[in-house]
């Protein structure tokens, strides 16, 4: 339970799709002029990420990883198909997006009307493929954690596009220098927001035994202070030498 909670908050705030790894920037910049459309795209991204990441986790676990084909028989132990992961992941994503579009159109026309135009766009949103690739690179251990990762990364992306859309709606009334108008100022604001999000970095350290950790850090700090003092002497000596050299 604790690891679920940790992964959830980590994916939303610390490893935020937009501010920490810059995924899905194209649609983030293109569709953030109005809050209403941004919300539509954001929900679509959450939805598709929560579906495709667990699916690709299954593919990775039972087909792609080295030795994943053992369930077919002992002679497949040596097979390593991981070079196929790009093509399989993107095929899964493209098919899932189509499938989701058809299912949503059939069962919930009102949801389809609000999400509809964004769904085909999503197949080529790097946040979706990035979610699957990061899931593979970070070796997420179980299916439910993979679902959690997909869902929370999607929520992180949703929050980011919602925030920038709200800012862009307001900034229309400000006197931005002409060459910066539109794209330029959006880049810079996103950069500043990214710096803000960096401050979440210290929130979760994953350490379960704080007392020892504190002692260790104290020792480390003392050591580093010693180290700092020593080179200073050297640099003072250097300066003396330099001064002597000048004289």
């Amino acid at each position: 339970m604790l690891e679920h909670l940790e992964l959830f908050f980590k994916s939303i705030f610390i490893d935020n799709m937009v501010f920490a790894v810059f995924l899905g920037m194209c649609s983030y910049l293109a569709v953030s002029k109005k809050v209403a459309t941004a919300v539509g795209l954001g929900f679509a991204v959450i939805f598709v990420l929560a579906v495709t990441v667990p699916l690709n986790w299954l593919l990775d676990q039972y087909i792609l990883q080295p030795g994943a084909l053992t369930w077919l028989g002992a002679e497949y132990v040596d097979y390593d198909l991981s070079f196929l992961s790009f093509i399989l992941f993107i095929a899964t994503i493209a098919t899932m997006v189509q499938l989701v579009e058809i299912v949503v159109e059939k069962f919930s026309p009102s949801l389809y009307n609000s999400l509809g135009i964004f769904l085909p766009l999503i197949a080529v949103n790097c946040a979706i493929l990035g979610g699957s690739l990061f899931m593979q690179a970070r070796e997420i251990p179980s299916l439910d954690l993979a679902f959690n990762y997909g869902l929370s990364s999607g929520i992180g992306w949703f929050l980011a596009i919602l925030a920038i859309a709200a800012i862009r709606e307001k900034i229309r009334y400000s006197a931005v220098p002409a060459p910066l108008r539109g794209l330029g100022i959006t880049f810079i604001i996103t950069g500043l927001m990214g710096i803000g999000f960096q401050s979440f970095g210290g929130m979760l350290t994953g350490d379960n035994e704080p007392p020892i950790a504190v002692e260790e850090t104290v020792v480390k700090i003392e050591e580093s202070q010693k180290e700092e003092k020593e080179p200073k002497k050297e640099s003072q000596d250097d300066q003396k030498e330099v001064i002597a050299g000048i004289n």
Binding site: M25, I90, L133, A178, L192
Partner: protein
């Protein structure tokens, strides 16, 4: 007769500045930002995209009359994914350390919007040779921005270029560091890339007022 006609050289030169994929068309930003902390990674990324976009455009252009328009996105994705696998395997074989630095971003060339954008906008309606030139031009325009951003981020952030110190040694206090210069650690963190690109856009649009957006 010159090798390229006027129209053909325009295909290559236009995306370098006035129709740049990153600063004007707003495509392919995702990968452009994440890997530009080092110049070396930026150059490798630019070359990879050059390869994928140049050949992808040719392949799509050759198939353009055979692809049913309903499934063209999936066909395009498969073509890109195949080319990207070639790039990824080559990097893993010959530059393993670098492929670790780039990590998932090589794979993300697949969803680089420049590539899908050029397939849709150009390769589906033009012959292979012109598509090839268009692909090369756009990849170069992308590469130029990557290299500029990588140059400034590595120079100001670590005081090195391609990993070699150019401003002196920060620990032994030689070169510029002797005068109290410090590396700007801010340039290394990811959000700095956004601000550098933002400033690039500012400079470009200030030079060419035609590009300024309506409020």
């Amino acid at each position: 007769m010159p090798v390229l006609s006027k129209k053909e050289s325009k295909l290559i030169l236009d995306p370098l500045a006035d129709n740049n994929p990153i600063t004007i068309q707003v495509l392919g930003i995702c990968s452009a930002l994440a890997i530009t902390a080092e110049l070396k990674a930026s150059v490798v990324m630019a070359v990879s995209v050059l390869f994928v976009l140049g050949f992808g455009n040719v392949v799509i252009s050759l198939m353009r009359n055979m692809i049913p328009s309903k499934i063209r996105i999936i066909v395009q994705l498969i073509v890109v994914a195949t080319l990207v696998i070639v790039v990824d395997q080559t990097l893993k074989a010959f530059a393993y350390e670098l492929s670790k630095t780039l990590s998932v971003f090589v794979g993300l060339i697949i969803t680089n919007c420049i590539i899908m954008g050029r397939f849709e906008a150009f390769a589906l309606g033009n012959g292979p040779w012109r598509s090839f030139l268009d692909g090369i031009g756009n990849a170069l325009g992308y590469g130029v921005i990557l290299v500029i951003v990588g140059f400034f981020r590595e120079l100001l952030g670590s005081g090195t270029l391609f990993g070699a110190p150019v401003l002196g040694d920060p620990i032994a206090k030689t070169g510029l560091y002797a005068f109290g210069y410090e590396n700007n650690g801010f340039m290394i963190i990811p959000p700095a890339a956004l601000i550098v690109v933002g400033i690039l856009i500012w400079v470009q649009r200030a030079k060419n007022p035609l590009l300024i957006e309506e409020a």
